[in-house]
């Protein structure tokens, strides 16, 4: 049953991405940037989903610290991995867009780019920490704490466009007077929905994989564990011969 719902989520995510890309292709070209602006249909949802993913990591960590639920730890870890993927996607699409529009792949004066890159490395550190700790409980405890500290970066990235003088576009979509074409906004929202489904599919599959990994680790640990007395063999009468 669970397997079937996972597969249904996958199919739904693929269909939604197809629909999102169709709407993106049909959306009007931007007045000054032309079709280059359409990369926003991938860039913006990726960035938002990265925030959501790291938020889930934070919540998962807190839940683990309070309830010691292994599922919360698995969800937190899986969400961080997917979040790192979306952050990388947002950075790459931002750079691809930046070259024709800003004239450079990387702008040192752009606070949003810089802070996003820092956030990427913070969560890479989170994943590196998890790989360094073999004991599941210690791993869960320490990564829960790091997941909480790491989340401090998220509001900094979000507000970087208002805190710093930056090339990056300021808050646009969530502004009440959003200066955005309704057709463009509709395509963006459809893509946001599609990317959310992709996030859910990735995270649920990764969580399932993490459970299987844990079970395998547990069974391997048990098979290595000798039962008390197993090192002693019963005396064999046949071995006692006339050598004595």
């Amino acid at each position: 049953m669970r397997q079937r719902s996972h597969q249904a989520l996958n199919v739904l995510a693929v269909l939604a991405i197809g629909l999102g890309f169709t709407f993106a292709a049909l959306a009007p070209a931007e007045r000054t940037q032309g079709d280059f602006a359409k990369i926003m249909f991938v860039h913006v949802p990726s960035a938002w989903l990265a925030f959501l993913a790291f938020g889930v990591t934070l919540v998962g960590g807190v839940v683990w610290l309070v309830k010691k639920s292994p599922l919360a730890d698995r969800i937190a870890a899986s969400s961080a991995e997917v979040g790192v993927f979306f952050t990388a996607l947002a950075l790459m699409t931002g750079m691809i867009w930046g070259y024709p529009v800003w004239g450079t792949f990387w702008d040192w004066g752009d606070a949003r780019m810089m802070s996003t890159a820092i956030m990427f490395f913070v969560y890479l550190g989170y994943l590196a920490l998890r790989r360094s700790i073999p004991d599941p409980e210690t791993r869960a405890k320490r990564s829960a704490v790091l997941g909480i500290i790491a989340f401090v970066q998220v509001p900094l990235v979000y507000f970087s466009v208002t805190l710093f003088r930056t090339l990056h576009q300021g808050t646009t979509v969530v502004r009440p007077d959003a200066p955005i074409d309704p057709e463009f906004l509709r395509a963006l929202m459809i893509n946001l929905g599609a990317f959310t489904l992709v996030y859910l599919a990735f995270t649920s599959w990764r969580t399932r994989l993490a459970r299987l990994e844990d079970e395998l680790e547990e069974s391997e640990a048990l098979s290595d564990f000798d039962i008390a007395g197993s090192g002693i063999t019963a005396p064999q009468l046949g071995e006692v011969t006339g050598d004595v």
Binding site: L65, M114, S115, I118, M119, F121, V122, L124, G125, A128, L129, S132, I133, E137, T138, K141, R142, A144, V145, L146, I148, I149, A150, V152, Q153, L156, L163, F164
Partner: protein
């Protein structure tokens, strides 16, 4: 636990860390000279153009303070050995007091580190007079405090791991970036005679947030390192 007992434990932990540092000299006799050497290497790498060096001097000080300050914040001598941990547990030391005490000792060492490197930067880079420069003292304090907080917390997260020496810088460097950014913005704002309130608030908020997280999570982290 009463507040008085808590602060007494904080004092003893800080004293213990400073005593160990005094004997080993890891921060004072190794990292500080290393930082000074790094400040000398940079002009050799980027060229000896005096106006350029004067321009980049404060930034280089902040970068070196951050990179080498990290080494002080999670120095090996501040890491407890298993018998030391067991002793602290048996004595009933509050993990939050351990965190605050360790952080206080690191802050003091980082302040000494900055106090030595600041005149070295002025001599080597000759950055000129920065308007309202006494504000930089507050920035140096907030930077030292922030680094000590992040370093102590990261040190607790990686305590006892085989990868501690390589993993801790990976955790501390990006987490400390907002401290570096805000400090650099203060220098920039002072040079332009603009308001620094936003950046000071950002530094203070960041420090306060990490301090709260550090105190709240001290017990689970201490339990996980047993």
């Amino acid at each position: 636990m009463s507040g008085r007992a808590f602060w007494s434990q904080v004092k003893e932990i800080a004293r213990k860390d400073l005593l160990i540092e005094g004997r080993a000299g890891e921060a004072l006799f190794i990292t500080i000279p290393f930082g000074a050497v790094a400040l000398m290497l940079i002009p050799l790498a980027i060229g000896t153009d005096k106006p350029l060096l004067a321009q980049v001097g404060p930034g280089m000080f902040l970068a070196v303070a951050l990179l080498f300050g990290m080494l002080i914040a999670f120095r090996q001598t501040a890491a407890d050995t298993p018998p030391q941990k067991e002793l602290l547990t048996l004595l009933g030391t509050d993990p939050a007091a351990q965190f605050v005490g360790r952080m206080a000792a690191s802050t003091l060492l980082l302040l000494i580190f900055e106090a030595v490197l600041a005149p070295v930067t002025v001599i080597l880079y000759n950055p000129g007079r920065i308007p309202r420069w006494p504000w930089l003292l507050l920035v140096m304090f907030l930077l030292a405090l922030g680094l000590a907080l992040v370093g102590t917390l990261a040190g607790s997260v990686t305590a006892g791991l085989r990868t501690r020496n390589t993993l801790t810088p990976l955790l501390v460097a990006p987490l400390s970036m907002p401290l570096l950014l805000a400090s650099a913005q203060v220098v920039e704002a002072l040079r332009k005679e603009a308001s620094i309130l936003l950046w000071i608030t950002l530094l203070a908020t960041m420090n306060l947030t990490i301090a709260v997280i550090g105190v709240v999570t001290a017990r689970p982290l201490e339990e996980s390192s047993r």
